[in-house]
């Protein structure tokens, strides 16, 4: 059997006495914000926050892959785009109800994740990174080929029911709540899954694959299921992205998005607050969505060249974040190795 003491491992901290006092407080704050922010915020800001909520799911998928399973994906931006594409066409071409379209995104994400995982998971971990990076570069080209160079609009609306009391011009509030509801349900299911034997088996496939295999865990199949689930979460998020913006476009999912997602996962994912790492998806998504918004308000920063311009560039910040986080994790790996020796 898998060591029951695994719950004390920081990587499995989500399974230990959940929710901790801090996590419960954080969840309460988030719940309060979910109710209050839409009533106070501008529609532009609320659209950003809605996207932020959807990106939390992408980060949850990446966290599952990177920190729970020790695997690498540099293509979750593309998988989000796959979900958006599938959700949009499920509504436009197959008459899917818009409210359920994220499920189409989830299914498409799972399928593409499995397609990439089937060959890559039999090989060293670098291969999954290689395939997902290639997918990230290829996806905008595929989308342009499939949908053409112009954005494709969603043939569906999200009209708030009268019992909500939301005015017709404030539909962005309803859209925000729809997305948050989907994200909350997905997080609840994910947490339940990871708290059980499957969650512990995933950690076992990361740390002791041979031992896990000996105890009857099919390492390859479980990893494949984990990659599919992680990709499915990205696809689900892609479907949810359509709720506030109502269109899909190749420019929304460049390869840089995948690299940014990976950078923030490495930087934020190895930290736990109050015993929960899934909570860390919120600040990671906040940086991803709000940093460009903050930079847009400083147009001089974006166009400035030279050394000062370099220091103010968004990609420079991400590069530094990646290098510092990688260095810190490398130091930890060295410390663990020295301790074992």
């Amino acid at each position: 059997m898998i060591d029951p003491g695994a719950a004390t491992d920081p990587a499995t901290a989500d399974t230990a006495r959940w929710p901790s006092r801090f996590t419960a407080a954080a969840l309460a704050v988030i719940a309060a914000l979910v109710v209050v922010v839409p009533l106070r915020a501008s529609s532009t800001f609320l659209t950003d926050v809605t996207q932020l909520a959807a990106f939390c799911l992408v980060f949850a998928g990446l966290w599952l892959l990177t920190h729970r399973m020790g695997l690498l994906s540099v293509g979750h931006g593309a998988l989000t785009g796959v979900g958006a594409y599938a959700a949009l066409h499920a509504v436009n071409d197959f008459g899917f109800p818009p409210m359920l379209m994220p499920l189409a995104g989830f299914a498409a994400g799972c399928a593409v994740g499995a397609l990439l995982g089937i060959p890559a998971l039999r090989l060293p971990k670098a291969y999954l990174a290689l395939l997902t990076l290639s997918a990230a570069v290829a996806f905008p080209i595929v989308l342009r080929q499939l949908d053409g160079p112009l954005p494709v609009t969603l043939d569906g609306e999200f009209i708030a029911p009268t019992w909500t009391g939301i005015a017709p011009n404030d539909e962005h509030i309803w859209e925000f709540w729809i997305v948050v509801a989907w994200v909350a349900v997905a997080f609840w299911l994910l947490h339940g899954l990871l708290s059980g034997p499957i969650g512990r088996a995933l950690v076992a496939t990361r740390d002791e694959p041979t031992a896990a295999s000996t105890f009857g865990v099919s390492v390859y199949r479980l990893r494949l299921a984990g990659v599919s689930l992680s990709s499915g979460l990205a696809g689900l998020a892609g479907g949810l992205m359509l709720v506030p913006v109502n269109f899909n476009d190749q420019s929304l999912y460049p390869e840089e998005l995948s690299i940014k997602l990976f950078a923030l996962t490495i930087a934020f994912g190895s930290t736990a607050i109050g015993g929960s790492r899934l909570i860390m998806t919120v600040p990671a998504a906040a940086v991803l969505v709000l940093l460009p918004v903050w930079l847009v308000d400083r147009p001089g920063w974006v166009i400035q060249g030279g050394w000062i311009g370099l220091l103010k560039a968004e990609f420079f910040l991400y590069a530094v974040l990646l290098l510092v986080a990688a260095y810190a994790r490398g130091r930890r790996a060295r410390a663990v190795r020295s301790y074992d020796a």
């Binding site: 990177t66 020790g70 690498l72 540099v74 397609l115 990439l116 089937i118 060959p119 890559a120 039999r122 090989l123 060293p124 971990k125 670098a126 291969y127 990174a129 290689l130 395939l131 990076l133 290639s134 997918a135 570069v137 290829a138 080209i141 595929v142 342009r144 080929q145 390869e255 840089e256 690299i259 990976f262 950078a263 490495i266 400035q304 060249g305 030279g306 050394w307 311009g309 370099l310 560039a313 990609f315 420079f316 991400y318 590069a319 530094v320 974040l321 990646l322 290098l323 986080a325 990688a326 260095y327 994790r329 490398g330 130091r331 790996a333 060295r334 190795r337």
Partner: protein
């Protein structure tokens, strides 16, 4: 289409693929060299080659106030010849490669997650550095080989440019020299020992870290040579290596990421397939060939996970 015209067109496409094939092959060999010695998939290899192309532009521009950093060359005043510029860029790339191994990769201690993270960090850093210092616009860089419209052979009606021949032969010569060094010199023997068994090599007194650093330097230099040579064909711009990196990675997988010889063959194979597909399959344009490369990558990994290596060679990591 008459049969002779079809043959001419086919030949022309094969000749056209040679330049791209050389660039893919050089990147694939560089990626394989680093991976087989350290187990690190260097995703920044393409960006390092792109930086090398910009360094060549700086040398070739002399003290041109319109080009960032060229003021540093004021003591030299005049622009360098193209060949000297490329050699200078290769040397600086090699030094940078060694420096990056020492400062960025070595502290990761072989843990794959932070190592891949570090190479992606370099990918972003080099990209943003170039954009902020040189701007996003294209720079022009002459080919070191003759490029007049008369500088060509005509074979079966198809034109084979001296430029293409020169680029291909230079890359093949560089890779050949590397293979020779690996087979006949002490450092080559040390490199082969490390790729075979790192711990045993260390026990035999080989300075593993120095040899790995030299491997990074050589790989960066080779990528730099590809960047400098292909710059005359593609023009120098920040995104010039994105496509090439994907094809280089795909080619490297043909050799199971461990065999430079098969990576070399893979580079040409992918370039020929790309040109032929774009030429003969109606719905595939030059952009979509990238998707085709991804599809091929998935097929190769599904059917032959160890690439074209034999299973035994793949297990031993001894494919050459």
């Amino acid at each position: 289409m008459p049969q002779s015209a079809a043959v001419t067109l086919f030949l022309q496409r094969v000749f056209d693929a040679m330049s791209n094939g050389s660039a893919y092959a050089a990147l694939a060999v560089a990626i394989s060299m680093v991976f087989r010695s350290t187990g690190v998939l260097n995703l920044a290899q393409g960006q390092m080659a792109m930086l090398s192309a910009y360094i060549a532009v700086i040398f070739a521009s002399g003290a041109d106030p319109g080009v960032a950093f060229s003021g540093w060359l004021t003591p030299f005043a005049t622009p360098w010849p193209i060949w000297a510029s490329i050699v200078g860029a290769v040397v600086i790339s090699a030094v940078l490669g060694a420096l990056l191994e020492y400062t960025v990769i070595r502290p990761m201690h072989g843990d794959p997650v932070p190592t891949i993270g570090a190479t992606l960090g370099l990918y972003l850093l080099i990209g943003v550095f170039v954009v902020k210092h040189f701007g996003g616009r294209q720079r022009f860089f002459d080919s070191p080989f003759p490029q007049e419209h008369t500088d060509r052979f005509v074979i079966g009606g198809a034109r084979l440019w001296f430029d293409t021949i020169g680029l291909t032969l230079t890359m093949l010569a560089a890779i050949g020299v590397l293979a020779l060094i690996q087979r006949t010199t002490k450092i080559g023997l040390a490199f082969r020992a490390i790729t075979s068994n790192r711990d045993s090599a260390a026990l035999l007194g080989i300075r593993v870290e120095q040899v790995v650093m030299a491997g990074w330097a050589v790989a960066a230099g080779l990528g730099g040579l590809a960047g400098g040579l292909i710059a005359g064909e593609l023009n120098v711009r920040p995104s010039m290596m994105e496509r090439l990196l994907i094809f280089g990675l795909a080619a490297a997988t043909l050799g199971g990421l461990r065999s430079p010889a098969l990576a070399l063959a893979g580079g040409y194979l992918f370039a020929f397939a790309e040109t032929i597909m774009a030429g003969y399959v109606g719905f595939i344009d030059s952009q979509v060939t990238l998707v085709w490369a991804l599809g091929m990558l998935i097929v190769v990994l599904s059917v032959r996970p160890s690439g074209l290596l034999s299973r035994k060679a793949a297990r031993q990591g001894l494919g050459t």
